[in-house]
Protein backbone atom coordinates (compact mmCIF):
# COMPACT_ATOMS: atom_id res chain seq x y z
CA UNK A 1 0.00 0.00 0.00
CA UNK A 2 2.71 2.40 0.97
CA UNK A 3 4.52 1.36 -2.17
CA UNK A 4 1.66 2.45 -4.44
CA UNK A 5 1.50 5.73 -2.61
CA UNK A 6 5.21 6.27 -3.04
CA UNK A 7 5.06 5.43 -6.75
CA UNK A 8 2.04 7.72 -7.16
CA UNK A 9 3.86 10.57 -5.48
CA UNK A 10 7.00 9.83 -7.46
CA UNK A 11 5.24 9.80 -10.81
CA UNK A 12 3.35 12.98 -9.95
CA UNK A 13 6.58 14.66 -8.92
CA UNK A 14 8.29 13.45 -12.08
CA UNK A 15 5.48 14.84 -14.19
CA UNK A 16 5.63 18.21 -12.48
CA UNK A 17 9.39 18.30 -12.82
CA UNK A 18 9.16 17.36 -16.48
CA UNK A 19 6.56 19.97 -17.17
CA UNK A 20 8.57 22.59 -15.33
CA UNK A 21 11.91 21.75 -16.90
CA UNK A 22 11.04 20.74 -20.43
CA UNK A 23 7.97 22.79 -21.13
CA UNK A 24 8.63 26.04 -19.38
CA UNK A 25 7.27 28.88 -21.48
CA UNK A 26 9.87 30.47 -23.70
CA UNK A 27 10.83 33.98 -22.76
CA UNK A 28 8.99 36.35 -25.04
CA UNK A 29 11.65 38.19 -26.98
CA UNK A 30 9.35 39.70 -29.58
CA UNK A 31 8.52 43.20 -28.47
CA UNK A 32 4.93 44.38 -28.32
CA UNK A 33 3.63 45.78 -31.58
CA UNK A 34 4.53 49.42 -31.68
CA UNK A 35 1.65 51.82 -32.09
CA UNK A 36 1.35 53.83 -35.28
CA UNK A 37 2.15 57.03 -33.38
CA UNK A 38 5.57 55.66 -32.40
CA UNK A 39 8.06 57.62 -34.49
CA UNK A 40 10.84 54.98 -34.34
CA UNK A 41 8.79 52.09 -35.70
CA UNK A 42 9.90 52.26 -39.34
CA UNK A 43 13.57 53.09 -38.86
CA UNK A 44 16.34 50.62 -39.61
CA UNK A 45 16.70 49.89 -35.89
CA UNK A 46 12.97 49.55 -35.26
CA UNK A 47 12.19 47.28 -32.29
CA UNK A 48 9.81 45.34 -34.56
CA UNK A 49 12.68 44.04 -36.70
CA UNK A 50 13.87 40.46 -36.30
CA UNK A 51 17.41 41.81 -35.98
CA UNK A 52 18.05 45.44 -35.41
CA UNK A 53 19.95 47.23 -38.16
CA UNK A 54 19.23 44.69 -40.88
CA UNK A 55 16.28 43.54 -42.93
CA UNK A 56 15.83 39.76 -42.85
CA UNK A 57 14.00 38.53 -45.95
CA UNK A 58 12.89 34.93 -46.45
CA UNK A 59 12.07 32.80 -49.48
CA UNK A 60 11.90 29.10 -50.26
CA UNK A 61 14.72 27.11 -51.85
CA UNK A 62 15.03 26.42 -54.73
CA UNK A 63 14.04 29.94 -55.78
CA UNK A 64 12.69 29.74 -59.30
CA UNK A 65 12.85 32.07 -62.27
CA UNK A 66 11.41 34.47 -63.23
CA UNK A 67 10.89 35.36 -59.57
CA UNK A 68 14.54 34.85 -58.74
CA UNK A 69 17.67 34.23 -60.76
CA UNK A 70 19.92 31.14 -60.52
CA UNK A 71 18.52 30.24 -57.09
CA UNK A 72 20.41 33.22 -55.62
CA UNK A 73 17.93 35.71 -54.12
CA UNK A 74 20.73 38.01 -52.96
CA UNK A 75 21.79 38.95 -56.50
CA UNK A 76 18.89 41.41 -56.94
CA UNK A 77 17.86 39.72 -60.19
CA UNK A 78 14.42 38.28 -60.81
CA UNK A 79 11.14 40.02 -60.00
CA UNK A 80 10.76 39.15 -56.34
CA UNK A 81 14.41 39.72 -55.50
CA UNK A 82 14.18 43.15 -57.14
CA UNK A 83 10.96 43.96 -55.27
CA UNK A 84 12.52 42.93 -51.96
CA UNK A 85 15.52 45.22 -52.54
CA UNK A 86 13.26 48.07 -53.64
CA UNK A 87 11.20 47.72 -50.44
CA UNK A 88 14.42 47.58 -48.40
CA UNK A 89 15.66 50.77 -50.03
CA UNK A 90 12.41 52.60 -49.29
CA UNK A 91 12.70 51.48 -45.67
CA UNK A 92 16.20 52.96 -45.50
CA UNK A 93 18.32 49.81 -45.69
CA UNK A 94 21.54 49.58 -47.68
CA UNK A 95 21.92 46.60 -50.01
CA UNK A 96 24.35 44.89 -47.65
CA UNK A 97 21.94 45.29 -44.76
CA UNK A 98 19.51 42.90 -46.43
CA UNK A 99 19.96 39.31 -45.25
CA UNK A 100 18.27 36.42 -47.09
CA UNK A 101 17.15 33.31 -45.22
CA UNK A 102 15.57 30.11 -46.52
CA UNK A 103 12.02 29.50 -45.34
CA UNK A 104 10.14 26.41 -46.63
CA UNK A 105 6.64 27.42 -47.65
CA UNK A 106 4.90 24.98 -45.31
CA UNK A 107 6.92 26.41 -42.41
CA UNK A 108 6.25 30.06 -43.20
CA UNK A 109 2.86 30.02 -41.48
CA UNK A 110 3.91 27.91 -38.49
CA UNK A 111 3.09 29.39 -35.08
CA UNK A 112 5.88 30.70 -32.92
CA UNK A 113 8.59 33.30 -33.44
CA UNK A 114 9.72 33.81 -37.03
CA UNK A 115 13.27 34.14 -38.29
CA UNK A 116 12.44 36.81 -40.86
CA UNK A 117 10.91 40.25 -41.24
CA UNK A 118 8.98 39.31 -44.36
CA UNK A 119 8.73 36.31 -46.67
CA UNK A 120 8.45 36.86 -50.44
CA UNK A 121 7.51 33.64 -52.26
CA UNK A 122 4.56 34.15 -54.66
CA UNK A 123 2.19 33.80 -51.75
CA UNK A 124 -1.44 34.52 -52.61
CA UNK A 125 -3.44 36.63 -50.18
CA UNK A 126 -6.65 34.99 -48.91
CA UNK A 127 -8.83 35.86 -45.89
CA UNK A 128 -8.41 32.29 -44.56
CA UNK A 129 -4.63 32.62 -44.61
CA UNK A 130 -4.76 36.07 -43.05
CA UNK A 131 -6.02 34.44 -39.86
CA UNK A 132 -2.60 32.86 -39.36
CA UNK A 133 -0.22 35.54 -40.67
CA UNK A 134 -0.04 39.21 -41.69
CA UNK A 135 -0.09 40.10 -45.37
CA UNK A 136 1.25 43.26 -46.93
CA UNK A 137 -0.54 45.04 -49.73
CA UNK A 138 -0.26 43.15 -53.00
CA UNK A 139 2.77 43.67 -55.25
CA UNK A 140 1.62 41.55 -58.19
CA UNK A 141 -1.62 40.24 -59.66
CA UNK A 142 -1.25 36.89 -61.39
CA UNK A 143 -3.48 35.13 -63.83
CA UNK A 144 -3.35 31.40 -64.51
CA UNK A 145 -2.03 29.92 -67.74
CA UNK A 146 -2.01 26.52 -69.43
CA UNK A 147 1.13 24.93 -70.82
CA UNK A 148 1.31 21.82 -72.98
CA UNK A 149 3.62 20.24 -75.57
CA UNK A 150 3.34 21.47 -79.16
CA UNK A 151 2.47 18.05 -80.54
CA UNK A 152 -0.28 17.53 -78.00
CA UNK A 153 -3.96 17.36 -79.06
CA UNK A 154 -4.58 20.10 -76.50
CA UNK A 155 -2.11 22.53 -78.04
CA UNK A 156 -4.77 24.04 -80.32
CA UNK A 157 -7.49 24.32 -77.67
CA UNK A 158 -9.40 27.59 -77.67
CA UNK A 159 -11.58 27.19 -74.59
CA UNK A 160 -11.21 25.95 -71.03
CA UNK A 161 -13.86 23.28 -71.57
CA UNK A 162 -11.58 21.62 -74.15
CA UNK A 163 -9.52 20.37 -71.19
CA UNK A 164 -12.37 18.33 -69.75
CA UNK A 165 -10.68 14.97 -70.36
CA UNK A 166 -7.09 16.15 -69.99
CA UNK A 167 -4.74 14.97 -67.27
CA UNK A 168 -3.73 18.22 -65.59
CA UNK A 169 -0.67 18.79 -63.41
CA UNK A 170 -0.45 21.53 -60.81
CA UNK A 171 2.05 22.48 -58.12
CA UNK A 172 1.06 21.89 -54.53
CA UNK A 173 0.02 24.90 -52.42
CA UNK A 174 -0.72 27.04 -55.45
CA UNK A 175 -4.07 28.60 -56.29
CA UNK A 176 -3.86 26.70 -59.57
CA UNK A 177 -5.26 23.54 -58.02
CA UNK A 178 -8.52 25.22 -57.05
CA UNK A 179 -8.54 27.13 -60.34
CA UNK A 180 -8.35 23.85 -62.27
CA UNK A 181 -11.18 22.31 -60.27
CA UNK A 182 -13.42 25.35 -60.62
CA UNK A 183 -12.69 26.52 -64.16
CA UNK A 184 -11.44 23.52 -66.16
CA UNK A 185 -13.61 21.01 -64.30
CA UNK A 186 -11.53 18.03 -65.52
CA UNK A 187 -13.03 14.54 -65.32
CA UNK A 188 -9.71 13.14 -64.08
CA UNK A 189 -8.23 14.15 -60.75
CA UNK A 190 -5.39 16.62 -61.24
CA UNK A 191 -1.91 15.42 -60.34
CA UNK A 192 -0.30 17.53 -57.65
CA UNK A 193 3.48 17.86 -57.72
CA UNK A 194 5.94 19.25 -55.22
CA UNK A 195 7.88 21.42 -57.65
CA UNK A 196 7.48 22.80 -61.18
CA UNK A 197 10.50 20.69 -62.17
CA UNK A 198 8.49 17.53 -61.37
CA UNK A 199 5.56 18.90 -63.37
CA UNK A 200 7.75 19.43 -66.41
CA UNK A 201 9.22 15.92 -66.12
CA UNK A 202 5.73 14.43 -65.94
CA UNK A 203 4.64 16.48 -68.95
CA UNK A 204 7.67 15.32 -70.96
CA UNK A 205 7.06 11.71 -69.90
CA UNK A 206 3.46 11.89 -71.04
CA UNK A 207 2.21 11.30 -67.49
CA UNK A 208 0.14 14.49 -67.73
CA UNK A 209 -1.26 16.43 -70.71
CA UNK A 210 -0.97 19.99 -69.45
CA UNK A 211 0.43 22.15 -66.66
CA UNK A 212 -1.61 24.93 -65.07
CA UNK A 213 0.26 27.55 -63.07
CA UNK A 214 0.61 31.32 -62.91
CA UNK A 215 1.47 33.11 -66.14
CA UNK A 216 5.03 34.28 -65.36
CA UNK A 217 6.02 30.76 -64.29
CA UNK A 218 4.49 29.30 -67.45
CA UNK A 219 6.59 31.75 -69.44
CA UNK A 220 9.70 30.70 -67.66
CA UNK A 221 8.92 26.98 -68.09
CA UNK A 222 8.17 27.40 -71.80
CA UNK A 223 11.26 29.51 -72.32
CA UNK A 224 13.89 27.75 -70.26
CA UNK A 225 12.77 24.26 -69.28
CA UNK A 226 10.89 22.93 -72.29
CA UNK A 227 12.12 23.20 -75.85
CA UNK A 228 8.74 22.18 -77.33
CA UNK A 229 6.36 23.81 -74.87
CA UNK A 230 3.22 25.53 -76.09
CA UNK A 231 1.40 28.18 -74.03
CA UNK A 232 -2.27 27.57 -74.79
CA UNK A 233 -3.69 30.61 -73.07
CA UNK A 234 -4.38 32.40 -69.81
CA UNK A 235 -7.44 32.76 -67.62
CA UNK A 236 -8.34 34.81 -64.57
CA UNK A 237 -9.29 33.01 -61.42
CA UNK A 238 -10.81 33.23 -57.92
CA UNK A 239 -14.34 33.97 -58.98
CA UNK A 240 -13.68 37.48 -60.24
CA UNK A 241 -11.26 38.42 -57.46
CA UNK A 242 -7.85 38.09 -59.08
CA UNK A 243 -4.99 36.28 -57.41
CA UNK A 244 -2.78 38.78 -55.61
CA UNK A 245 0.69 38.07 -54.25
CA UNK A 246 1.61 39.64 -50.92
CA UNK A 247 4.56 39.71 -48.56
CA UNK A 248 4.04 37.38 -45.61
CA UNK A 249 4.81 38.80 -42.15
CA UNK A 250 4.46 37.28 -38.68
CA UNK A 251 0.97 37.68 -37.24
CA UNK A 252 0.62 41.10 -35.57
CA UNK A 253 4.07 42.15 -36.73
CA UNK A 254 4.65 45.75 -35.85
CA UNK A 255 6.38 46.10 -39.20
CA UNK A 256 3.46 45.37 -41.57
CA UNK A 257 2.42 49.00 -41.83
CA UNK A 258 6.03 50.02 -42.60
CA UNK A 259 6.23 47.50 -45.46
CA UNK A 260 2.87 48.70 -46.72
CA UNK A 261 4.05 52.29 -46.73
CA UNK A 262 7.12 51.27 -48.72
CA UNK A 263 5.04 49.28 -51.23
CA UNK A 264 2.63 52.21 -51.54
CA UNK A 265 5.54 54.53 -52.36
CA UNK A 266 6.93 52.03 -54.92
CA UNK A 267 3.54 51.87 -56.60
CA UNK A 268 3.17 55.66 -56.59
CA UNK A 269 6.58 56.41 -58.12
CA UNK A 270 6.19 53.71 -60.81
CA UNK A 271 9.04 51.48 -59.57
CA UNK A 272 6.75 48.47 -59.19
CA UNK A 273 5.41 48.85 -62.74
CA UNK A 274 8.96 49.18 -64.05
CA UNK A 275 10.15 46.05 -62.24
CA UNK A 276 7.12 44.11 -63.47
CA UNK A 277 7.85 45.13 -67.04
CA UNK A 278 11.54 44.33 -66.64
CA UNK A 279 11.17 40.82 -65.20
CA UNK A 280 7.67 39.65 -66.08
CA UNK A 281 7.16 41.12 -69.53
CA UNK A 282 6.08 39.22 -72.64
CA UNK A 283 2.86 38.09 -70.96
CA UNK A 284 0.74 40.60 -72.86
CA UNK A 285 -0.16 38.67 -76.01
CA UNK A 286 -1.30 35.35 -74.57
CA UNK A 287 -4.88 34.59 -75.64
CA UNK A 288 -7.55 34.76 -72.95
CA UNK A 289 -9.40 31.45 -72.52
CA UNK A 290 -13.08 31.26 -71.55
CA UNK A 291 -15.23 28.28 -70.76
Amino acid sequence: MSRTRISLAASAAALVALAAAGCAPQPQNTPEAAGPEDASRCTTDSPSLHQSGRLTVATDSPAYEPWFDSNTPSNGKGFESAVAYAVAEKLGFERDQVKWVVEPFAHSYAPGPKAFDFDINQISITPQRAKAVDFSASYYTASQAILTLDGSPYAKATSLSAFKDARIGVQVATTSYQAVLDQLKPSKQPSVFSTTKDEVTALRNGQIDAIVTDLPTVFYLAGAELENGEIVGQFGYAGGTPEKFGLLLPKNSGYTSCVNEALGALKADGTLARLTAQWLSASANVPELKR
Partner: protein, 300 residues
Protein backbone atom coordinates in the same frame (compact mmCIF):
# COMPACT_ATOMS: atom_id res chain seq x y z
CA UNK B 1 -10.08 -39.41 -12.54
CA UNK B 2 -10.70 -37.17 -9.57
CA UNK B 3 -9.25 -39.76 -7.30
CA UNK B 4 -5.77 -39.66 -8.77
CA UNK B 5 -5.69 -35.89 -9.19
CA UNK B 6 -7.07 -34.86 -5.86
CA UNK B 7 -5.04 -36.46 -3.11
CA UNK B 8 -1.71 -34.72 -3.64
CA UNK B 9 -3.43 -31.35 -4.07
CA UNK B 10 -5.69 -31.50 -1.06
CA UNK B 11 -3.51 -33.59 1.12
CA UNK B 12 -3.91 -31.22 3.99
CA UNK B 13 -7.51 -30.27 3.29
CA UNK B 14 -10.24 -31.69 5.51
CA UNK B 15 -12.50 -32.42 2.52
CA UNK B 16 -13.48 -35.98 1.80
CA UNK B 17 -11.72 -37.36 -1.32
CA UNK B 18 -15.04 -38.12 -3.06
CA UNK B 19 -16.30 -34.57 -3.53
CA UNK B 20 -13.32 -33.54 -5.72
CA UNK B 21 -11.12 -30.49 -5.26
CA UNK B 22 -12.30 -27.73 -2.94
CA UNK B 23 -9.93 -24.91 -2.08
CA UNK B 24 -8.98 -24.67 1.54
CA UNK B 25 -9.87 -21.64 3.63
CA UNK B 26 -6.28 -20.59 3.31
CA UNK B 27 -6.45 -20.82 -0.46
CA UNK B 28 -9.75 -18.96 -0.56
CA UNK B 29 -8.26 -16.25 1.58
CA UNK B 30 -5.32 -16.04 -0.76
CA UNK B 31 -7.64 -15.76 -3.80
CA UNK B 32 -9.69 -13.05 -2.11
CA UNK B 33 -6.54 -11.16 -1.36
CA UNK B 34 -5.28 -11.48 -4.95
CA UNK B 35 -8.61 -10.31 -6.34
CA UNK B 36 -8.76 -7.26 -4.13
CA UNK B 37 -5.15 -6.42 -4.88
CA UNK B 38 -5.80 -6.72 -8.60
CA UNK B 39 -8.84 -4.46 -8.28
CA UNK B 40 -6.83 -1.87 -6.46
CA UNK B 41 -4.02 -2.05 -9.02
CA UNK B 42 -6.54 -1.44 -11.77
CA UNK B 43 -7.94 1.55 -9.94
CA UNK B 44 -4.54 3.02 -9.16
CA UNK B 45 -3.27 2.57 -12.72
CA UNK B 46 -6.43 4.09 -14.19
CA UNK B 47 -6.24 7.01 -11.79
CA UNK B 48 -2.54 7.57 -12.51
CA UNK B 49 -3.15 7.45 -16.26
CA UNK B 50 -5.99 9.96 -16.00
CA UNK B 51 -3.94 12.21 -13.73
CA UNK B 52 -1.01 12.01 -16.12
CA UNK B 53 -3.21 12.87 -19.10
CA UNK B 54 -4.79 15.72 -17.18
CA UNK B 55 -1.36 17.06 -16.22
CA UNK B 56 -0.09 16.92 -19.80
CA UNK B 57 -3.31 18.47 -21.09
CA UNK B 58 -3.24 21.21 -18.45
CA UNK B 59 0.39 21.98 -19.22
CA UNK B 60 -0.44 22.29 -22.92
CA UNK B 61 -3.49 24.45 -22.35
CA UNK B 62 -1.71 26.63 -19.80
CA UNK B 63 1.23 27.33 -22.11
CA UNK B 64 1.32 30.86 -23.50
CA UNK B 65 1.04 29.76 -27.13
CA UNK B 66 -1.86 27.37 -26.59
CA UNK B 67 -4.49 29.59 -28.14
CA UNK B 68 -2.48 29.81 -31.36
CA UNK B 69 -1.76 26.08 -31.40
CA UNK B 70 -5.42 25.35 -30.77
CA UNK B 71 -6.44 27.50 -33.72
CA UNK B 72 -3.77 26.12 -36.06
CA UNK B 73 -3.87 22.41 -35.20
CA UNK B 74 -7.27 21.66 -33.70
CA UNK B 75 -9.70 23.60 -35.86
CA UNK B 76 -12.91 21.56 -35.96
CA UNK B 77 -14.43 23.34 -38.94
CA UNK B 78 -11.20 22.92 -40.90
CA UNK B 79 -11.12 19.19 -40.09
CA UNK B 80 -14.73 18.70 -41.14
CA UNK B 81 -14.20 20.45 -44.47
CA UNK B 82 -10.97 18.54 -45.17
CA UNK B 83 -12.18 15.12 -44.07
CA UNK B 84 -13.93 13.91 -47.26
CA UNK B 85 -10.78 14.67 -49.29
CA UNK B 86 -8.58 13.04 -46.68
CA UNK B 87 -10.73 9.93 -46.68
CA UNK B 88 -10.70 9.70 -50.47
CA UNK B 89 -6.93 10.12 -50.43
CA UNK B 90 -6.51 7.55 -47.70
CA UNK B 91 -8.44 4.98 -49.70
CA UNK B 92 -5.72 5.28 -52.33
CA UNK B 93 -3.08 4.70 -49.62
CA UNK B 94 -4.91 1.53 -48.56
CA UNK B 95 -5.09 0.27 -52.14
CA UNK B 96 -1.41 0.92 -52.74
CA UNK B 97 -0.60 -0.78 -49.45
CA UNK B 98 -2.62 -3.90 -50.23
CA UNK B 99 -1.23 -4.36 -53.74
CA UNK B 100 2.36 -3.74 -52.64
CA UNK B 101 1.90 -6.01 -49.64
CA UNK B 102 0.92 -9.05 -51.74
CA UNK B 103 3.83 -8.54 -54.14
CA UNK B 104 6.30 -8.02 -51.31
CA UNK B 105 5.30 -11.18 -49.45
CA UNK B 106 5.76 -13.35 -52.52
CA UNK B 107 8.94 -11.73 -53.81
CA UNK B 108 10.49 -11.38 -50.36
CA UNK B 109 9.98 -15.05 -49.62
CA UNK B 110 11.39 -16.05 -53.00
CA UNK B 111 14.53 -13.99 -52.49
CA UNK B 112 14.99 -15.33 -48.97
CA UNK B 113 14.65 -18.91 -50.23
CA UNK B 114 17.19 -18.26 -52.95
CA UNK B 115 19.60 -16.84 -50.39
CA UNK B 116 19.40 -19.84 -48.03
CA UNK B 117 19.83 -22.52 -50.71
CA UNK B 118 23.14 -24.36 -50.85
CA UNK B 119 23.17 -25.80 -54.40
CA UNK B 120 26.39 -24.67 -56.14
CA UNK B 121 24.57 -24.22 -59.45
CA UNK B 122 22.45 -21.47 -57.96
CA UNK B 123 25.43 -19.26 -57.09
CA UNK B 124 24.65 -16.59 -59.75
CA UNK B 125 21.07 -16.38 -58.48
CA UNK B 126 22.26 -16.11 -54.88
CA UNK B 127 24.69 -13.40 -55.86
CA UNK B 128 21.96 -11.45 -57.65
CA UNK B 129 19.65 -11.74 -54.64
CA UNK B 130 22.40 -10.50 -52.32
CA UNK B 131 23.20 -7.53 -54.54
CA UNK B 132 19.50 -6.73 -54.84
CA UNK B 133 19.02 -6.70 -51.07
CA UNK B 134 22.17 -4.64 -50.48
CA UNK B 135 21.25 -2.02 -53.04
CA UNK B 136 17.53 -1.58 -52.48
CA UNK B 137 17.73 -1.74 -48.71
CA UNK B 138 20.38 0.95 -48.83
CA UNK B 139 18.59 3.47 -51.03
CA UNK B 140 16.15 5.80 -49.24
CA UNK B 141 12.60 4.92 -50.24
CA UNK B 142 11.81 8.48 -51.32
CA UNK B 143 14.70 8.42 -53.79
CA UNK B 144 13.41 5.15 -55.22
CA UNK B 145 9.95 6.69 -55.62
CA UNK B 146 11.49 9.58 -57.58
CA UNK B 147 13.73 7.32 -59.66
CA UNK B 148 11.04 4.81 -60.58
CA UNK B 149 8.22 7.37 -60.78
CA UNK B 150 9.94 9.76 -63.15
CA UNK B 151 12.72 7.57 -64.56
CA UNK B 152 10.76 4.53 -65.69
CA UNK B 153 8.28 6.45 -67.89
CA UNK B 154 11.16 8.55 -69.27
CA UNK B 155 12.53 5.40 -70.90
CA UNK B 156 9.44 5.49 -73.13
CA UNK B 157 9.23 1.71 -73.30
CA UNK B 158 6.15 -0.02 -74.61
CA UNK B 159 3.74 -0.92 -71.83
CA UNK B 160 5.34 1.13 -69.06
CA UNK B 161 2.58 2.20 -66.70
CA UNK B 162 2.07 5.95 -66.46
CA UNK B 163 -0.36 5.96 -63.54
CA UNK B 164 1.57 7.52 -60.70
CA UNK B 165 0.12 5.26 -58.00
CA UNK B 166 1.21 2.16 -59.93
CA UNK B 167 4.73 3.51 -60.32
CA UNK B 168 4.70 4.27 -56.63
CA UNK B 169 3.68 0.70 -55.84
CA UNK B 170 6.59 -0.57 -57.95
CA UNK B 171 9.04 1.63 -56.06
CA UNK B 172 7.66 0.62 -52.66
CA UNK B 173 7.72 -3.03 -53.65
CA UNK B 174 11.37 -2.80 -54.72
CA UNK B 175 12.34 -1.18 -51.45
CA UNK B 176 10.30 -3.25 -49.02
CA UNK B 177 10.95 -6.59 -50.70
CA UNK B 178 14.58 -6.12 -49.72
CA UNK B 179 13.71 -5.60 -46.06
CA UNK B 180 11.16 -8.41 -45.95
CA UNK B 181 13.52 -10.85 -47.70
CA UNK B 182 16.01 -10.31 -44.88
CA UNK B 183 13.31 -10.86 -42.28
CA UNK B 184 12.28 -14.11 -43.94
CA UNK B 185 15.90 -15.20 -44.20
CA UNK B 186 16.34 -14.64 -40.47
CA UNK B 187 13.22 -16.73 -39.90
CA UNK B 188 14.47 -19.57 -42.09
CA UNK B 189 17.82 -19.56 -40.34
CA UNK B 190 16.12 -19.62 -36.94
CA UNK B 191 14.66 -23.08 -37.53
CA UNK B 192 16.99 -25.60 -35.95
CA UNK B 193 18.67 -27.99 -38.45
CA UNK B 194 17.48 -30.90 -36.30
CA UNK B 195 13.95 -30.10 -37.39
CA UNK B 196 14.91 -30.62 -40.99
CA UNK B 197 16.80 -33.80 -40.19
CA UNK B 198 13.85 -35.12 -38.22
CA UNK B 199 11.49 -34.36 -41.10
CA UNK B 200 13.76 -36.14 -43.54
CA UNK B 201 14.00 -39.09 -41.17
CA UNK B 202 10.22 -39.30 -41.16
CA UNK B 203 10.35 -39.70 -44.93
CA UNK B 204 9.30 -36.20 -46.07
CA UNK B 205 11.04 -35.05 -49.21
CA UNK B 206 12.85 -31.70 -49.56
CA UNK B 207 9.75 -29.84 -50.73
CA UNK B 208 7.48 -31.32 -48.05
CA UNK B 209 10.02 -30.53 -45.36
CA UNK B 210 10.08 -26.91 -46.44
CA UNK B 211 6.33 -26.64 -46.78
CA UNK B 212 5.24 -28.44 -43.59
CA UNK B 213 8.15 -28.11 -41.18
CA UNK B 214 10.53 -25.25 -41.91
CA UNK B 215 8.32 -22.51 -43.35
CA UNK B 216 5.56 -22.56 -40.71
CA UNK B 217 8.11 -22.24 -37.92
CA UNK B 218 10.13 -19.64 -39.80
CA UNK B 219 7.12 -17.41 -40.48
CA UNK B 220 5.84 -17.77 -36.93
CA UNK B 221 9.22 -16.72 -35.54
CA UNK B 222 9.39 -13.52 -37.60
CA UNK B 223 5.78 -12.41 -37.38
CA UNK B 224 6.48 -9.31 -35.25
CA UNK B 225 9.30 -7.88 -37.42
CA UNK B 226 7.26 -8.71 -40.52
CA UNK B 227 4.36 -6.68 -39.21
CA UNK B 228 6.74 -3.88 -38.28
CA UNK B 229 7.75 -3.66 -41.92
CA UNK B 230 4.14 -3.66 -43.06
CA UNK B 231 3.22 -0.82 -40.77
CA UNK B 232 6.22 1.10 -42.07
CA UNK B 233 5.11 0.30 -45.62
CA UNK B 234 1.62 1.51 -44.90
CA UNK B 235 2.98 4.85 -43.74
CA UNK B 236 5.45 5.08 -46.60
CA UNK B 237 2.65 4.96 -49.16
CA UNK B 238 2.49 8.68 -48.35
CA UNK B 239 5.84 9.10 -50.15
CA UNK B 240 4.10 8.42 -53.46
CA UNK B 241 2.58 11.90 -53.07
CA UNK B 242 5.60 13.34 -54.91
CA UNK B 243 4.46 11.64 -58.11
CA UNK B 244 1.20 13.53 -58.19
CA UNK B 245 -1.64 11.30 -56.97
CA UNK B 246 -3.95 12.75 -54.37
CA UNK B 247 -3.30 10.40 -51.47
CA UNK B 248 -3.95 11.35 -47.86
CA UNK B 249 -0.75 13.30 -47.20
CA UNK B 250 -1.09 15.33 -50.40
CA UNK B 251 -4.77 16.00 -49.77
CA UNK B 252 -3.85 17.26 -46.30
CA UNK B 253 -0.98 19.35 -47.65
CA UNK B 254 -3.19 21.02 -50.23
CA UNK B 255 -5.80 21.95 -47.66
CA UNK B 256 -3.23 22.96 -45.04
CA UNK B 257 -1.17 25.14 -47.36
CA UNK B 258 -4.28 26.65 -48.88
CA UNK B 259 -5.76 27.78 -45.59
CA UNK B 260 -2.53 28.12 -43.56
CA UNK B 261 -3.90 25.68 -41.00
CA UNK B 262 -2.25 22.42 -39.93
CA UNK B 263 -5.44 20.63 -38.81
CA UNK B 264 -5.73 18.53 -42.02
CA UNK B 265 -2.33 16.96 -41.26
CA UNK B 266 -3.67 15.90 -37.88
CA UNK B 267 -6.71 14.40 -39.59
CA UNK B 268 -4.51 12.40 -41.98
CA UNK B 269 -2.36 11.21 -39.06
CA UNK B 270 -5.47 9.99 -37.27
CA UNK B 271 -6.51 7.99 -40.34
CA UNK B 272 -3.13 6.25 -40.49
CA UNK B 273 -3.24 5.49 -36.77
CA UNK B 274 -6.78 4.18 -37.05
CA UNK B 275 -5.46 1.44 -39.34
CA UNK B 276 -2.07 0.67 -37.79
CA UNK B 277 -3.22 0.28 -34.18
CA UNK B 278 -5.81 -2.48 -34.86
CA UNK B 279 -3.24 -4.12 -37.14
CA UNK B 280 -0.70 -4.11 -34.31
CA UNK B 281 -3.18 -5.55 -31.79
CA UNK B 282 -4.12 -8.24 -34.30
CA UNK B 283 -0.47 -9.16 -34.78
CA UNK B 284 0.03 -9.26 -31.02
CA UNK B 285 -2.79 -11.78 -30.79
CA UNK B 286 -1.39 -13.91 -33.58
CA UNK B 287 1.97 -13.81 -31.88
CA UNK B 288 0.54 -14.85 -28.50
CA UNK B 289 -1.36 -17.71 -30.06
CA UNK B 290 1.72 -18.90 -31.91
CA UNK B 291 3.78 -18.69 -28.75
CA UNK B 292 1.21 -20.70 -26.80
CA UNK B 293 1.31 -23.38 -29.44
CA UNK B 294 5.09 -23.50 -29.54
CA UNK B 295 5.75 -23.51 -25.82
CA UNK B 296 2.70 -25.62 -24.96
CA UNK B 297 2.28 -24.12 -21.54
CA UNK B 298 5.93 -24.14 -20.58
CA UNK B 299 5.79 -20.39 -20.01
CA UNK B 300 3.27 -20.68 -17.17
Amino acid sequence: MGKTAVPNRSATSPDSPDTGYRPSDHERERQRYRRSRKRRHTWVSTLCTLLGLAAVGAAAVASPGWERVDRLFFDGAELRSAFPDLLRGFWLNIQMFLVAEMLILVLGLLIALVRVTRAPGLQPLRLAATVYVDVFRGVPTLLLVFLVGFGLPALQLQGTPSEPWLLGVIALTLSYTAYVAEVFRAGLNSVHPAQRNAARALGLDERQTLRHVVLPQAVRNVLPPLLNDFIALQKDTALVAVLGPLEALRAAQIKADYDFNYTPYLGAALLFIAVTIPLTRFADRLQRRAARRTWAGADR
